[in-house]
Structure formats: C-alpha cells, structure tokens
C-alpha cells in the first residue's frame, strides 16, 4: 500500500472516490469533515444560537450527518442547539428497526430525540395506506405526509432549521429525473442547498457536495451504528434508471456527480420570463382567482399551501372516504361523481390533521419545559421528557387530559372554529 498522499507519513488506507487520492484514515476523516465545514461556512447555512433539527432516519446519511454536525459544532464552535427529529411512517419491518437505531444514536451523541408518527398525525400508518392504495402511488402519500410531519415535529420542538442527509448522489439523481420527466420548476430549485423562502421552516442539505460512497466509507471506518435496508414499499423504478446511469457515469468519470450538480445550479440561475410573470401577477389580480393563491395556509390544517386545501389534507380526505385517488392527478371528475367539493363541511371529512395553530400553541406551552431541560447531557434511554425525549409523549395517544387542555387553550384564544375542529379531531 502506498503512502498517504496528504500526510506522506502514514500508509494509505483507502482511495477517495471523489478525488482518487490515496489517503490514510486520519487524513480522510479530516478532509471529509473539513469539506462539509467549508460547505456550511461558504453557504452561510447556520446562525449562532440556532436550534437545528437533524432529520434522522437511522440510515447511513442521517447517522453520519448527526455525527459530523455534532463534531463540527464542537470543533468550530457553531453554537448550535442540535436535536434529532425522526418520522415514524409506520412501516413494520423497516421503520421500527431503523428507529431503534436512531434511539441508540440519541444516546451515543447525547442529542434529544423527537419522533412524530403518521399514525398520530394522520390516523393512518403506511402499512394501512398501502393496504388501501396498493404499491402504486404509495410513495406520493409517504412523501407528502413526511414533509408535513417533519415541519410539524420541528414546530413542536421550536426548531429554526431542519437539516437533511441528502447527499451529492441524491441531488444529481434528482436533477436527471427532473429533466427526464419534464419538471422544469423542480429542476430549477432542486439543487439549492438552502430553502427558506416558502413560509416553512428553513431546510438545508449540508451533504450537497458529499459523495455517497464517502459517506458509507466514513460510517464504515468510524464504526457508526446505522441501519441499511431499502424501504419495503418503494419500488423506485424510475429513480432506479437515473441511479444506474449515474453510477455508470461515476465509473468512467468520478467528477460526474459534481458536474451534474454544477449543471443543475446553472439551470437554477436564469429566471424564466413566464414564471416571473406568474409570480408577479397575483399581487394585483388576487381577487380574480381566489382558488389559486401564491402562498397561503390550508383552510383545514393551517399548513402552508398554494391551494385552498393542502395536498396532505386532500390525500387524507381520500383515504378517509375510501377514495385514495382523490389527490392523485386530475380528480375533478372523481369529485363531481361523488358530489364532493373542497369546501365540504368538516363534519363529513372524517379525521383531519391537527391545525397548525394548535400545534404552535402546544409547542409554546411545552417550550419553557423544553428550555429547562438541558439539551447536551445524554438523557437516559427511555426517559420521558416534555416535547423531547421519548417519542410517544407529545403527539401520540391523545389522552382526554390533553384534549381538554387543548380545547381550553384554543377557546381562550378566541378561536371557536379551531376549538370545534380540535374537538372533532379528538373524536
């Protein structure tokens, strides 16, 4: 084995997939961590004092992200308050095992953990959803629900920023897929490292320039505890094509992944005249088209939505009514046939998602307690904190006490409509 090309003293232990350099383990760790640090600083991802939730699935990317951010936060004194935030989709044999990994990570890094579950938020687990909709379009439900679940978990934790473990390979694949399926809007925004312009909590991808192979190597050499199984419900057929193509490209030219991201950034830069027109127009033509708003809140759950009712609420309505295709594709005809309108009275909808106002109230009530519990020392496994700590306390098991407290809280806030909605939800 040749000598490390960086320190020239130690024996090289690996060849970096990104650069082709032969390096020793110590130099690899340092280079890997320093590149992520540079990505964070050059893109100004964090502000001192920010409370940052790490979207943790228990997989390699999020495990390495939690490890590296924990390390860099101490090494470079970012002054971040880190927490782990997990989503339990309710997939037996997959998510339950990976969440066990996250719970071990919580102890290993001494970071508080919050788990939000589909079952508690929506009343449906992915197992139940797949039982109803089958294996086609099930990822639509999971994707829409996960986005909201992360945001709702972040609101409950009082978090300013969510970081996710999307790596360079993921982003390059997404660029290719968006070209192939003709999604110009997503193509233009899928390479941005930081999203904080659409009214939701700021999100970022510190691994934007980090190769998947290097993440796996880092986790392997550092002996990190992670869970590696593909989701049992994800066919990934279309992404599979893009993935194979990307791996072929990487085999003949390792820089191809960064090259694709670079191209994706060039797509984002130009402002297309038509899209500029559509964003400018509603400012003065707002009253003409009340159904299509630029940015607003879902009238059912208060989540950010460009339509009157957000996608998650429409999908949930479909599930509750036994019409799972209600939110997929063009559904006007389906709605007419079943005589359904978006403005249906809430009583007929079945269970709805808890209103964001209620979630914020709950978070506000929990925050003094959360602030009191110090975030850095590792809580003993199984300790039931308020808001943070054991997963099932804050969102699951709608106890009667919580229901009355919420009802009272909302009534005091002079929002009877919300109170009735909250009460309905508890039924």
């Amino acid at each position: 084995m040749p000598a490390c090309q960086r320190c020239t003293t130690a024996r090289a232990a690996l060849k970096r997939p990104k650069t082709g350099e032969s390096v020793c383990k110590a130099c690899f760790y340092l280079a890997f961590e320093t590149e992520i640090h540079e990505t964070i600083t050059t893109n100004h991802l964090f502000r001192r004092g920010e409370k940052v939730a790490i979207g943790a699935s228990g997989g390699k990317d999020s495990t390495v992200l939690a490890h590296v951010l924990h390390l860099l936060n101490q090494r470079y004194d970012y002054g971040l308050d880190l927490v782990l935030l997990s989503v339990d989709e309710g997939i037996t044999g997959y998510r339950d095992d990976s969440l066990a990994t996250v719970q071990r990570n919580q102890v290993q890094y001494g970071l508080p953990l919050k788990i939000v579950s589909y079952g508690d938020l929506y009343g449906w687990t992915m197992d139940e959803i797949v039982a109803q909709v089958g294996l086609k379009n099930n990822c639509t439900f999971c994707g829409v629900f996960r986005r909201q679940a992360l945001d709702r978990g972040a609101v409950l934790l009082g978090v300013d920023h969510i970081v996710t473990g999307h790596n360079a390979d993921d982003i390059a694949e997404t660029v290719l897929m968006n070209i192939l399926r003709g999604d110009i809007a997503r193509l233009q925004r899928c390479t941005s490292i930081l999203n904080n312009n659409d009214g939701t909590i700021k999100r970022s991808k510190p691994f934007k320039y980090t190769y998947e192979k290097e993440i796996v190597m880092y986790a392997y050499f550092k002996n990190l505890d992670y869970f590696s199984t593909e989701c049992i419900y994800a066919p990934q057929a279309y992404r599979g094509y893009a993935r194979t193509f990307l791996k072929d490209l990487e085999a003949i030219r390792p820089s191809a992944i960064l090259d694709i991201i670079h191209s994706g950034e060039a797509f984002a830069a130009p402002s297309d005249p038509p899209s500029a027109k559509t964003t400018a127009a509603p400012a003065h033509a707002h009253g003409e088209k009340p159904a299509q708003r630029d940015a607003g809140e879902c009238e059912r759950c208060g989540y950010m939505s460009s339509q009157r009712v957000c996608k998650a609420c429409v999908l949930l309505e479909g599930l509750n009514r036994g019409l799972p295709r209600l939110g997929i594709g063009k559904t006007d005809r389906l709605r007419r046939r079943h005589n359904l309108h978006e403005a249906t009275s809430p009583e007929t909808l079945g269970r709805t998602i808890e209103h964001m106002a209620n979630v914020r109230l709950e978070a506000a009530r929990a925050s003094p307690a959360a602030a009191a519990s110090p975030p850095t020392p590792p809580p003993p496994a199984g300790a039931a904190g308020v808001g943070v700590g054991e997963p099932s306390t804050a969102l699951s098991a709608p106890s009667a006490a919580a229901a009355t407290a919420r009802g009272v809280g909302v009534a005091n806030n002079d929002a009877p409509r919300l109170a009735s909605r909250g009460a309905l939800m508890e039924l």
Binding site: I179, L180, I252, L258, D259, S263, F267, D272
Partner: protein, 428 residues
Amino acid sequence: MCDQVANDRPATPNKSGRLSKPRSREAEQGYCSKCKTVKATIAVRQSIFCKACFLTGTEAKFRTAMSKLRPSTPPRPAGSGSNESSGPSGVLALSGGCCSVALLHLLAMLIEQDRSRPHAVPQIASLAVVFIDESEIIPCDPAYYPRLEALVRQYAIPLRTVKLSSAFDLNTAGRTLVVENTTVSSTVPDPTKSSLDRLRAVFDSSPSTSAKEDLLDSIRTHLLLHAAQDATYLFLGSSTTTLANRVIAATAKGKGASIPRFLAPTSAPLGSASPTVLKPLATFTAKELGLFTYFRRLDVIPFPTLTSARPPGLKVSVHHITQSFLAKLEATQEGTVSAVYRTAAKLRASPTDAPLCPLCLECPLEPADVAAGTRHGATTAGHVAMVCWGCGTVLDELQRRDRRGARGPVEVPLFDQIAEYLLSDDDE
C-alpha cells in the same frame, strides 16, 4: 342508440335546430390518419400514416420549420465566396448519418421549389456541403467516400471535404496550444512534426474517450464555422434525439449552462461576423428522419465514430452511456426523448456578461474561485479561468497517459478565439 348517433352524424340536428356541419371523418382502425383511405404502415408523431402521407407530411413540416426560422434571422449579405449572389447562401454540415442526409434532401427540395417560382424570395439561393473527414483518427472503409460523393452529386451541389488535421492550421500565427497541468501556453510547433502527427498524438495518448469525443466536437465546430465563414447560414442536421442526448450529456459533463445556446434554433456562436447556425430538424425525431431516408431511398453512410462497434453495455464514454441510457428509457417509456428536449428548451441562459468558453463556444466562463469552491478538489482541473468547467475536465483528462495516473503535456489546436484570450492574458 349510440350506433345510430354515430351512423347518422352528418344529419344530426344540434341544439339550435340546424343541421351540424359534417365533422371530418375519423380514420378506421389501422388506416392512415391523414388520407384515411390507405392502410397505415408507420407510427410517428403520436399517430399512424401511410407512406405517401408521411413523406408529404415530413416535407410540409420541414417547410414550416424553415419559414419559422426565417423572420428571426435577417440574412447577412453573402460574402465574396458565394457565386450566385442573389440571396442568402448556406453551408450544410454533412456527416453521412440519416439526419444530415435527410436535411440535404429537404434543403435541395426547397431550393428546387424556390427556383420554380421566379418571383418568390428564395430562402437559400445557393447551397454547399461540407464534410469533416475524421478518418485520420478513426479508420473507415474507403468505399464510403465514393458513396458520399455520389450522394451529393445527384443534387448538383458542391462538396468540400475538410481534414481534421487542418484544425492545426487554423491559427493565423501558426502557433499551437500546449496544456501542461494547470497552465496553458501557445507555442511555435516543432517543424519536423506534421499536423497529422500532432493530431494523432492528442488522440492516441489519452485513455479517456469522453475527453477525446469532446475535443473532436470542439474541433468539428471550429472547422465547420471556418468552412462556412463566407456563407449566411450553417445548417446542422441535429434532430430531437440528437439534441436530447446532448442535453443529458451536457448535464453530465457540467455544461448545463450551454444548453440554452445549443438548443436555440438559430445562433451565432462567433458573433455577427460568423454564419448563423440553423437547426431546422430540431423538432424531428431520429425515427422520423430514419424512415424518411429509408422511403426516399437515400444512401445513409455509416461513418464510424470513436465509440463505434462497442457493445452498448460497455462503459466507454459519457456520450456512449447517455445514448444507450436514453434509448433504453425511450423504449420503455415512449416520449422521454421529446420530454427531455421540450424541458430543456424552456431553460434560459443566465443574463451574464461573461465571455463564452473559447474551446466549446457554448458555456459562459465563470470566476475561478466560484468553480473551485464547489469542486473540493474532485478533479485537478485548474483551467477554469481559461475555459469552462466542462472543458477544464477535458483538458485535464487529455493529459492522462494511462489509467494509473501518469500524465504528460498535450498539444491541441490553437483556435483564434483562444489565441485572443491568451494575448490579453499576456498583456496583463
């Protein structure tokens, strides 16, 4: 009841009591959707046609495409090279493939039709054909050349063959470009070596087929623009399939910024002094053009490329992988190719004042520190200030001597655009 309505359609009274106008007849199952009288033989453009309707349809589509190109390009007065100076002159880049052969036939047809109408303003008054001969680096069957000459001769159009090695003679000062590690410099070439020796040295030394393909592409672009310098238009036979492949390949090579430029139906890469590059076949798929050449019995000559005779499963070059990837995807999900083309056509070039890369003439140059910041040393390309991101990788890979890391300087043609850049560099 439904049958009755269908049968009585022409006489069915509408709501106002008047008899509705008979709607155009629907073609019966399996019949040509245009003439509806002959059994259809081909399925293109989301429909089925008979041979005759397909051919007339293709020619009509071409005339429409040409008339759409005309208003946006006020013809530059033809230079001294054009002999029939009664209108704009054109040069067609012929490769021998089905797209450019079809374009030759369609353009010749258009000129013929214009001549038959003496009062009409001709779209192109004269046409010449340029063929870039790559046999110096890619061995090819000598029988192909007489076939090519015969193909062009039947239209009574002059054919000009340009050797690839003449790219080394393009520089007015007779210098070449030497790339070594991250430095580029111009030099007076060794007089004992011919242009052919130098060309072979570049293409034989590096193991990277992707880099060689890209260099070949750049050389071809420069040679074509040079050959057409006196003409008003340079016609390229790029089809939707070619362009979609280029979109994906450009993305994979970090040249995403070049897409709006090479997808534009008209462009002038060297400014107003150069011919306007037109791509009238941009909305035709390779399948349409292949069928057209087949039915018109045109001689398509399969000149080999750098990746010819390599099995599609083999990972040879970025272009090779991209082609087999898109072809496979199109086979399973029809419409992918046109979706790629239409999506990419919506992209706009960023409003930048940065000059274009002197090598590929397509990508805007970007500040070196910006490019290096996101590269994290992924490649050792350090030419970013001189050429674009993608061409930096090409120049870097051309310096490789084997797959284990041996490197050596490389001598490439010095185009005047690069020479200008070098001069301004020296002045500073």
